[in-house]
């Protein structure tokens, strides 16, 4: 009965992902054309650049927001696709529970990783990170 609400959040999450994942894609994969948030020369996934972003509170917060929005959007989408294949009522309940539990578990794991990276990175000496 709550599809009205979940669907509204699904598209809201989509809009949030568009902004943040779009930024992430520009940083990571359009780095030669528009170089943003990659202060050190070299590939965006090299440690020097990674640690610069990990130090940033803005990045920690936005990674967590992106993680939550993307997990909700993706898992709700997968749930929709699976439910359209018409499983039985019991299976629907089980699947819904799996998605909620799995989604929360992944969110906790990812958010913890973002927080721990932030803690780790702010203790690193600036720009002395080995290139």
């Amino acid at each position: 009965m709550r599809d009205q609400r979940w669907w509204t959040w699904h598209i809201a999450a989509g809009a949030i992902i568009l902004v943040f994942l779009g930024l992430h894609m520009v940083i990571m994969h359009l780095d030669v054309i528009f170089r943003v948030f990659n202060p050190h020369p070299g590939h965006p996934i090299e440690w020097a650049n990674v640690v610069e972003r990990a130090k940033s509170g803005f990045f920690m917060v936005t990674y967590i927001v992106l993680l939550g929005a993307a997990l909700f959007h993706g898992l709700y989408g997968l749930r929709t696709i699976l439910f359209e294949l018409n499983p039985g009522a019991g299976l629907k309940k089980t699947l819904s529970l799996l998605f909620v539990v799995g989604g929360l578990a992944l969110f906790v794991f990812g958010a913890w990783a973002a927080w721990a990276s932030f803690q780790f990175a702010i203790t690193q000496p600036a720009a002395a990170a080995a290139l």
């Binding site: 009205q4 929709t80 018409n86």
Partner: protein, 282 residues
């Protein structure tokens, strides 16, 4: 319009299925001479007259207003009476029963699931003032702008072609489908109706438009131009605004009292006496 080559002979391949005989559906082929203006329905009738008296299908008006003859013709759901042989651009006509519905026999689909979903969404005016509905004192006021908001969706003939084209309904029988949802929106958008909250109890959940992902096929195949896809997206907008508490609920259109003090023009006779006992006199 480029001239289509007029065929001399039409080959019909019809998906036959006799539930009490062979259990499996199979194709059977019939050849007919082409006659000018021949529709698929004309072909079916000729086949029943000459070759196969047991061929079964539904049809009635033969002019595209009753919605009985929806079939899967050359890979698309169409009305048999509305489909000219020449518009198919081939002389091979494949006729199968409407998909996404159980086949009762030959070309006859079981449309009851569609109608059950339709009835569940209360496809009629829901108002609180029962007295006014049974003892009307006047007409409900509705401007032409208000009529436009639902008129297109009221042209639906319930043929089921949109349901056959819908990819969600192809896998999910619990989805209401474009026709019930389109008609639900037709009543929600009608200013004479006060039933949004009642319908919302169904629409907020699994019976709602949430499984529509705008493939747009329902609108492309609709023989009356009802555009159920548009109705469903407009319905989603209403429901999202309702969730955000931004939906303005107008009260249902009021009954217009008759104009008082208007003088009859000369030469117009009075109305005859009412024949229904107990009704207010005009």
């Amino acid at each position: 319009m480029a001239a289509t080559t007029i065929p001399t002979e039409v080959i019909f391949r019809i998906r036959r299925f006799e539930p009490l005989g062979n259990a499996e559906p199979h194709w059977e082929e019939y050849r007919l001479p082409y006659t000018a203006g021949m529709t698929v329905l004309d072909g079916l009738r000729r086949i029943k007259e000459t070759a196969s008296p047991a061929l079964a299908w539904r049809s009635s008006c033969r002019m595209g207003v009753c919605g009985s003859c929806g079939m899967f013709i050359n890979g698309r759901p169409r009305l048999a009476c509305n489909t000219q042989i020449t518009e198919l651009n081939t002389n091979l006509v494949l006729v199968a029963p409407l998909p996404n519905f159980n086949t009762v026999r030959d070309l006859v689909p079981d449309l009851m699931p569609m109608f059950d979903a339709h009835i569940a969404l209360h496809p009629h005016l829901l108002r609180d003032d029962v007295a006014e509905q049974y003892q009307p004192t006047g007409e409900f006021f509705q401007s032409s702008h208000e009529v436009e908001q639902y008129l297109q969706f009221s042209y639906c003939i319930k043929c089921g072609c949109c349901m056959a084209a819908c990819p969600t309904y192809a896998t999910d029988p619990t989805y209401s489908g474009p026709m019930p949802l389109g008609q639900g929106h037709r009543y929600n958008a009608d200013t004479r109706d006060g039933g949004f909250k009642t319908r919302k109890q169904q629409l907020a959940g699994e019976r709602g438009p949430w499984r529509c992902h705008y493939a747009g096929e329902c609108s492309r195949v609709c023989p009356k131009g009802v555009d159920p896809a548009k109705a469903i997206q407009l319905m989603k907008r209403e429901l999202v605004l309702d969730y955000l508490h931004l939906l303005k609920h107008g009260c249902p259109a009021k009954a217009m009292g008759k104009p008082t003090g208007a003088k009859r023009r000369d030469g117009i006779p009075d109305a005859p006496a009412r024949t229904i006992a107990g009704a207010p006199s005009l």
